[in-house]
Amino acid sequence: MTTADGTPTPSAPPVMVPSTRRRRIPAALRSPLAIVALAIITIWVAVMILAPWISPAGPTEQSFERLTAPSAEHWFGTDQVGRDVFSRVLHGARMSIPVAALLVSASLVVGAVLGAIAGYFGRVVDEVIMRVADLVFAFPTIILAMVIAAALGPSLRNAVIAILVVSWPPYARVTRSLVLSAREAEYVVAGRLLGNGPFTSLTKDVMPNVAAPVVVLATLDIGTAILLLSGLSFLGLGAVPPTPEWGAMVSDGIQQFSSWWIAGFPGLAIMSIVLAFNMLGDVLRDSLDPHTAQTVKGRAL
C-alpha cells in the first residue's frame, strides 16, 4: 500500500488525462513551480520509504538527553522524553503520506460511485444522495470530524473514518455534474441504443471519460487530507501519543514552549508537503477545466 499509493502521484497524470489535453499537461509540469513541487514530493516519498534506514535513531527510542536544542548530533533537537525529533519527523512521513493517500482514494471511490449513480439515474436516487451530501456540507468539516472521531474513540483508524464521512461530497458533486453531461454524449446514447444496460453504459461508456479529471484533482487533495488528519491528531483525536505523527508531535511541543524545535519542525514538515501538493495542484488545475477545478477546490479545509 505504502509505495503503491505514494509513488503514482508524479508519474500518473499524463496517463490519466484525456487524450485531447495530453499535450498540455507535460508542458504545465515543466514550469519551475511544478518542478519544485515534484521534487519536494519525490523527496518525501523517498523519506517515507527509507525512514528506517536513514534516520539516526528509532522514532520512539528515548535514549538521549532531554530537551537539547538542535545541534550537529541532533539536527532537530530532542523532545521532553529524550527522543530524536529528526528521526521522528522522518518517520512521520510513513504515517501522514500513505494514510492521506488512502483517505483520498477512499473518499474518491465513495464520492465518485455515489455521484455517478446520482447523475446517471437521476430522480429519487439523485435527490437522496445529493441531499445527504448537502447535509454533510451543512457542518463545518473539523467540527463534524471531531464529533465522529471523539465518538468512535481516538485512534488513527477512527480519524480516517471520520474524515472519510465528511470528505466524499465534493467528489460526488463533481462526478455527478460530469456524468450528467457525459450521459447525453452521442457515443453513450449510441451504446444504449445498441443494447448496453445501465450498468454497462455507466461503467464502460461514461466513467472512463469522467474519471480522469476527478482522479487527477483528487490526487492533489492529498495535501488537504494531510492537514485534516494532522489537525485531528493535534486535537488528540487521531494518532495516539508515542506514534510519530506530525500533528501529534506539534501538540507534544505545546507543553514545552521554550523548546520551539519540538513543535517547529513537524509543523514545517506538514507545511512543505502540503505546499508541494498545492503548488502542483495549482499548475494542473490551470490546465484542466477551470469549472471542475473550482468545484473540487471549493471546500479546501
Binding site: 457542518f139 464529533v147 465518538a151 474513540g153 493535534f234 486535537l235 506539534v250 505545546i254
Partner: protein, 356 residues
C-alpha cells in the same frame, strides 16, 4: 438538484410572481428543509455513537446497578422507540431546549448562548482581516497579471493555504506573546479587568458603549493575535477567488469599453471591475466564514478563547452528548443561515440568478 425539491413546495405560494420573490421563497424552502435535516443528522449521529451515555452520566459505580440504570433510562426516555425520541427532541429544540450538559449540569442552550458572542467577535474580526487582505491582494494580482507581483502573491496565497492552522497559531503565539510579549496570548480580557456590562456580548463593542476605554484597548489587544491567525487562514482562499473573479470581469466588453473611452484607471477599477466582481466575492466570503467556523476550534483552543470552538472540543472529548448535539445543531444552523444570506445577496445583486 437542490432546486427541484423546493420548486414543488414553493411554486404553490409564489407561483409565477415576481422572479425575485419566487427565488426567495424557493431558497427559504430549501433552507427550512436543510434545517430539519440538520436536526435529524445530529440525532442520528448521537444515536450511532457506540459509547454508552448512561455510564458517562452516572459514573461507573452507579452504572453497575441495574435499578439505577433502568430508572435513568426511563427518565431520559432512552427506552422509547427512536422516532418517538426524535420527535421529543425536535419539539424540545423548537422550544429552545437543547437539553442539559452532562458535564456541567447546565442547560446547553444557556452555555452556547454564553460562548457564542466570543466566537462571533473573533470570527467578525477575522473576516475583516481576511476580506481586506484577500480582496486587496486578489485585485492587485489580477491588475498586475503575469508580472512578478502576480507570481509572488500567488505563491504567498498558496503558502497561506498550506500552513496547518494549529501550527500557525502556535508560531504566532510563540513569537508575539511568548518571545516579544507585544500582545496578550490568552483569553478575551486581562484578569484584572471586569468585563463590560453585557449588551451585545462582544467585549470590544460593549466596552465602547460603556465608555470604558481601558477595557476597550485591552479587549482589542486580546483580539489581535487570534483574529489575525484566523483571518490569515482564509486570506489565501479569498485572494485566489478575488483574483480570478477580477480577471473574468477585466475581460468583459464593458470594461474594455470603459477603458477605450478613456476613463481613468482608478474609476474603471472601482466603478466597473470591483462592482462586477462582487457576486463571486460575496459567495467566497460566505464560504470563508464557514471555514472560519472550522478554524475557530483550533484557534480558540490555543488562545484559550472561551467560545463555541472550545466548547465543542470539550463536549466532543468528554462525550457530552447533549452538548455535542447542541453544538452540531447551532453550528449547522449558522452555516445554513449563512448560505441563505449569501443566496439572498446573490439574487439581489445579480438579476440573472434564476432558479432553474
Amino acid at each position: 438538484m437542490a432546486q427541484d425539491t423546493s420548486t414543488t413546495t414553493a411554486t404553490a405560494p409564489g407561483g409565477g410572481g415576481h422572479p425575485l420573490a419566487r427565488y426567495l421563497v424557493v431558497r427559504a424552502g430549501i433552507t427550512v428543509l436543510l434545517l430539519f435535516g440538520v436536526t435529524l443528522t445530529t440525532f442520528i449521529l448521537t444515536n450511532l455513537i457506540p459509547a454508552d451515555p448512561v455510564q458517562a452520566v452516572l459514573g461507573e459505580q452507579a452504572a453497575a446497578n441495574p435499578e439505577i440504570v433502568a430508572a435513568y433510562r426511563e427518565r431520559a426516555g432512552l427506552d422509547d422507540p427512536l422516532p418517538v425520541q426524535y420527535f421529543t427532541y425536535l419539539s424540545n429544540v423548537l422550544q429552545g431546549d437543547l437539553g442539559t450538559s452532562q458535564q456541567t449540569r447546565q442547560p446547553v442552550a444557556d452555555e452556547l448562548g454564553r460562548a457564542a458572542p466570543a466566537t462571533i467577535e473573533l470570527a467578525l474580526a477575522a473576516i475583516v482581516v481576511s476580506a481586506v487582505l484577500g480582496i486587496g491582494l486578489g485585485l492587485w494580482a489580477a491588475l498586475k497579471r503575469r508580472t512578478i507581483i502576480d507570481q509572488v502573491i500567488r505563491l504567498v496565497s498558496t503558502v497561506g493555504i498550506s500552513i496547518p492552522l494549529f501550527w500557525l497559531a502556535l508560531v504566532v503565539y510563540y513569537v508575539f506573546f511568548f518571545q516579544l510579549g507585544i500582545f496578550p496570548g490568552s483569553g478575551r480580557l486581562s484578569p484584572t479587568l471586569t468585563p463590560p456590562p453585557d449588551v451585545t456580548g462582544l467585549y470590544t463593542v460593549d466596552s465602547l458603549l460603556a465608555g470604558d476605554l481601558p477595557a476597550f484597548w485591552d479587549a482589542l489587544s486580546h483580539l489581535v493575535l487570534p483574529a489575525s491567525v484566523l483571518g490569515l487562514y482564509t486570506v489565501g482562499l479569498l485572494t485566489r477567488f478575488a483574483r480570478s473573479a477580477v480577471l473574468e470581469i477585466l475581460d468583459q466588453d464593458y470594461v474594455r469599453a470603459a477603458r477605450a473611452k478613456g476613463l481613468p484607471a482608478r474609476t474603471v477599477v472601482t466603478r466597473y471591475v470591483l462592482r462586477g466582481s462582487l457576486v463571486p466575492i460575496i459567495t467566497v466570503l460566505g464560504m470563508a466564514f464557514g471555514s472560519l467556523l472550522s478554524g475557530t476550534v483550533l484557534v480558540e483552543i490555543i488562545f484559550s478563547w472561551n467560545g463555541i470552538g472550545q466548547y465543542s472540543y470539550a463536549a466532543a472529548t468528554r462525550l457530552d452528548l447533549p452538548a455535542i448535539m447542541g453544538v452540531g445543531l447551532v453550528v449547522g444552523m449558522v452555516y445554513i443561515g449563512l448560505n441563505f444570506i449569501v443566496d439572498l445577496l446573490y439574487g439581489l445583486i445579480d438579476p440573472r440568478v434564476r432558479v432553474s
